[in-house]
């Protein structure tokens, strides 16, 4: 690795967001006062019974610093069923996680502390199609309408651009878990604030599973990166900033939304407060993530369409899960960036940031086009507030104690991708207001997913003079997402957008997660904007390699013992 790349990598943790002081943000499910909210649209109410059925990592998400993923294969089905009955009380619900989040917030408000010390350890569970077939019979698994789920990740691997050459480390035959013949039946996700508590819980769960003839195929620990890289992925960039806001309410009380709403109308009849929870966070009907709930209308940002019905009745309020273990070659990424930056005549961190679409701190290029802006990155109402195709207008917010308002420069139109290139990761994965190969921007709301990933392995970014041994340690991302389909959400954005040079808009492949395989040739390209026009870069090496995973289904909690264990 060149000295330029090494220097950039070693100092990348200087690019951490500067969090604002004194703002008390509402967490998920925060209760707003009625007078704070505009006239409400009719939205689904997640009543207590539903909140107790939905697994908590789907909504609102665990968001814990330490997580363990355990991949099991069932042995004797009768013993597996007994294990399911036993583990069911350990599964954390949406209600449990929401209650924790609200208590956490209440403590923050009363004590004025950012981290009031509440701790929890949670467990969620998901099943492969094969597991459902083994537990309930193939006629039950065949009722699931998502064909990709029924096929499994390994069968869809090359469709996602994974290597076709069996000697490639990313070929499915070489995966640590999920390769043909080594596919997990059950995925357990354990998450905790305290590493020790997590390990105790995992030990107990592991032993209990083995006692019930479950074979542990693989397990992976994930941890948020330490220090200034907290919330960042291994290349050094802040991750998980942009998530859809799930529509719906906790109760019928005014303002009691699952996703807190902050926008107020700019003028009479302004629809924006009904389209966005906070600036840049679009609201999406819950049926895009939970089976059997009202879904997004394909032609409208706001309207809903009736729930899907292509699943067994007991699966209502469940969600499909995609798990991908993605190995990251951090030195290779920064080596490419250093060489590219030299060729393009820009600083290396800027070059890397244009590949991502954000600066390492998380500040979007659309609002900080020439240099990182950690203060912008730390502003929760500004860091995700931008359009691509047109100038972004200010979004007035309801009064937020301690928040002075979004005073950062607003984003200008960048329809041609000169500032945030069309190939950049964030523009590929979320084209926002842009028209796509599927037409109107409302279609993009059909493609969004709930991301719940966490890094694994020791960081090398931000480490001064890393040893050869440290550099060579394996690291990456345990990518996890939830959606009401796998094919039309995760697979759609992966194959059609990240892996395409022309979709959703022409300019090159996603240089971060894009995968290509043309008869074993795995090169990608991008047209990097420079002052004198676009310059073509060929990406001959890979820095994200799939190394395992699976397609699963996270059932409603009562179905674990009531259906899956009772046949």
């Amino acid at each position: 690795m060149s000295e330029v790349a090494k220097a950039a990598l070693e100092t990348i943790d200087d690019h951490h967001a500067v969090l604002p002081k004194g703002i008390m943000l509402a967490g998920s499910g925060a209760h707003l006062r009625a007078k704070d909210t505009p006239k409400e649209p009719r939205e689904y109410v997640f009543r207590l019974a539903a909140r107790r059925r939905i697994q908590g990592n789907v909504i609102p998400g665990f968001n814990k610093d330490h997580q363990q993923f355990l991949f099991f294969r069932m042995g004797d089905v009768h013993r597996a069923r007994r294990w399911l009955v036993a583990i069911r009380p350990s599964i954390s619900s949406m209600e449990e996680v929401l209650t924790f989040v609200r208590a956490h917030r209440a403590l923050r408000l009363s004590r004025g502390e950012a981290e009031p010390g509440l701790k929890a350890t949670w467990v969620n569970i998901a099943f492969s199609s094969g597991a459902i077939s083994a537990l309930l019979g193939p006629e039950q698994s065949s009722v699931f309408g998502d064909q990709s789920f029924r096929q499994g990740l390994a069968a869809r691997s090359t469709y996602l651009g994974d290597p076709t050459d069996k000697s490639h480390p990313g070929h499915r035959a070489n995966w640590v878990v999920g390769s043909p013949g080594n596919e997990a039946d059950i995925l357990l996700i354990v998450a905790g604030d305290d590493a020790g508590d997590l390990e105790d819980m995992v030990s107990s769960l592991r032993a209990d599973a083995v006692d019930h003839d479950l074979q542990l195929l693989f397990e992976q620990r994930g941890d948020t990166l330490p220090g200034g890289l907290r919330g960042h992925e291994h290349f050094g960039f802040k991750d998980g900033i942009s998530q859809p806001g799930v529509r719906g309410k906790v109760s019928t009380e005014p303002g009691d939304f699952i996703t807190p709403r902050y926008l107020v109308p700019r003028f009479p009849g302004d629809q924006m407060p009904h389209l966005f929870a906070r600036p840049g966070q679009p609201l999406v009907w819950p049926g895009q993530f939970l089976l059997g709930e009202p879904r997004q209308d394909p032609e409208s940002f706001l309207a809903r369409r009736p729930p899907a019905t292509d699943f067994p009745k007991w699966a209502r309020l469940g969600s499909y899960v995609v798990c991908r273990r993605l190995r990251q070659d951090v030195p290779a990424f920064w080596k490419f960036c250093a060489e590219g930056a030299a060729a393009a005549g820009v600083p290396v961190v800027e070059f890397a940031s244009r590949l991502v679409g954000r600066w390492p701190s998380g500040a979007p290029l659309m609002r900080a086009s020439t240099a990182d802006d950690p203060v912008l990155a730390g502003d929760p109402f500004a860091a995700n507030h931008f359009l691509f195709d047109d100038r972004t207008r200010p979004s007035p917010l309801r009064p937020i104690p301690g928040y002075p308002g979004d005073t950062h420069p607003h984003a200008n139109a960048d329809m041609l991708g000169v500032v945030c290139p069309h190939f950049s990761h964030i523009r590929k994965m979320n084209p926002r207001d842009s028209v796509t190969d599927l037409g109107k921007p409302a279609d993009t709301l059909l493609r969004v997913i709930l991301r719940r990933g966490i890094p694994y392995g020791p960081p090398v970014a931000g480490v001064k003079n890393p040893s050869r041994k440290l550099i060579n340690r394996e690291r990456g991302l345990m990518f996890l997402c939830y959606g009401a389909t796998i094919e039309d959400q995760f697979e759609f954005v992966t194959r059609r957008w990240a892996n395409s040079s022309a979709q959703p808009n022409s300019g090159g492949h996603d240089p971060v997660i894009g995968q290509r395989d043309d008869g074993g040739v795995r090169s990608r390209w991008l047209d990097f904007p420079t002052g004198s026009g676009a310059r073509r870069f060929d990406l001959l090496h890979e820095w994200v390699v799939p190394t395992g995973g699976g397609y699963f289904f996270a059932p409603p909690i009562d179905a674990i013992d009531g259906v899956l264990a009772s046949a």
């Binding site: 076709t164 394909p298 899907a308 195709d389 037409g439 279609d443 059909l446 194959r495 290509r516």
Partner: protein, 332 residues
């Protein structure tokens, strides 16, 4: 300098060199473009007009944007349709060229499937983005060329002039372009025609203006119509004058056969063949065939896409992108 003449789609040279057809075609397209269409009043300052649509053969614009308008070839109304209404593995393609205007292939990509009689497996799929206007105009000037091309493209020397022009003038819905073959678009509701595409582009700048795409109304369910309409309207919002790029036409931009596998699960070879234009560059194309060479020992219907056997032409169309070229610039 304004454009001297509209060229034929794909710069086709079907007519003999020096034929009047080329000028006549240009004149035909010029009529479809019509006069410049002024832009809409700015929503925030109605005294000011935004960029309009221009006819490049009459109006000089300094082009600053070369915009590829790209969409998927499979019909979006079916793509986003309720999956629970369809059986597993059904690509929702029930189109059939014998039904003419009732076809579902509404994204300016039409295709025809050839199947093996004894087991109904697909042996060949032909895709086209050619317009009925081109063939009608060509027939008007050179009926003998049209007849020759029908025979060549469909591999059938027995096709006669009366088959394609039974009343003495060209019939776009003749049997060799519907029941028995595919030459150009036939979908009529909404029509896949060059005039419709140009009209969509021309009309994009008119009417109410918006500040951004979140303000635009829903409208068409297709992918192509919002792609043309909203993208050009967004460019016009930047005070740019917009038009379609010469040679004006609808094109197959490319395909993605990643994850397509042979019966032995190995990746497929390159079985695509660009038929029109025959000259380089092959892409973007107007007519493409997908057929496995006999030496491979299997047929298209034996190929799987992401582990799913090919049973419908629509499964291929999902992985084809269609293009119309846009331009935008400043007017003196």
């Amino acid at each position: 300098m304004p454009l001297a003449r509209f060229d034929t789609p794909g710069r086709l040279r079907d007519a003999p060199e020096g034929s009047t057809f080329y000028d006549e075609w240009s004149g035909f397209v010029r009529l479809l473009f019509g006069p410049d269409n002024p832009g809409a009043p700015d929503i925030d300052d109605p005294s000011r007009r935004l960029g309009g649509f221009y006819n490049p053969t009459t109006t000089d614009v300094a082009v600053v944007v070369n915009r590829d308008l790209i969409w998927i070839g499979f019909p979006r109304p079916l793509f986003v349709g309720d999956q629970s209404a369809f059986a597993a593995g059904d690509t929702r393609d029930r189109s059939d060229r014998t039904t003419g205007g009732q076809s579902t292939q509404v994204e300016y990509l039409e295709w025809r499937v050839v199947r093996r009689p004894h087991d109904n497996k697909i042996t060949k799929v032909t895709f086209t983005t050619e317009t009925p206007e081109y063939w009608s105009e060509l027939h008007r000037v050179h009926p003998e060329v049209v007849l020759r091309l029908y025979r060549e493209l469909l591999g059938n020397p027995s096709i006669e002039e009366r088959d394609i022009a039974p009343e003495g003038f060209y019939e776009p819905l003749n049997d060799w372009n519907t029941r028995d073959g595919i030459i150009h678009y036939i979908v009529t509701s909404p029509p896949n025609t060059l005039g419709q595409a140009i009209g969509q582009a021309r009309g994009s700048v008119a009417g109410v203006s918006y500040r951004d795409n979140y303000e635009t109304p829903g409208g068409d369910m297709t992918a192509v119509d919002p792609r043309i309409r909203l993208d050009l309207k967004a460019l016009a919002r930047k005070n740019l004058w917009v038009t379609l790029r010469d040679p004006v036409g609808l094109y197959i931009l490319g395909w993605d056969d990643m994850g397509w596998t042979k019966p032995d699960d190995s990746p497929v070879g390159n079985y695509w063949r660009v038929v029109r234009p025959a000259s380089e560059p092959a892409l973007p194309a107007l007519r493409v065939e997908y057929e496995v060479p006999a030496s491979e020992g299997f047929v298209v219907g034996d190929i799987s896409i992401g582990g799913r056997p090919i049973e419908h032409g629509g499964q291929l169309a999902e992985h084809i992108t269609v293009l119309i070229g846009g331009l935008a610039g400043t007017r003196a």
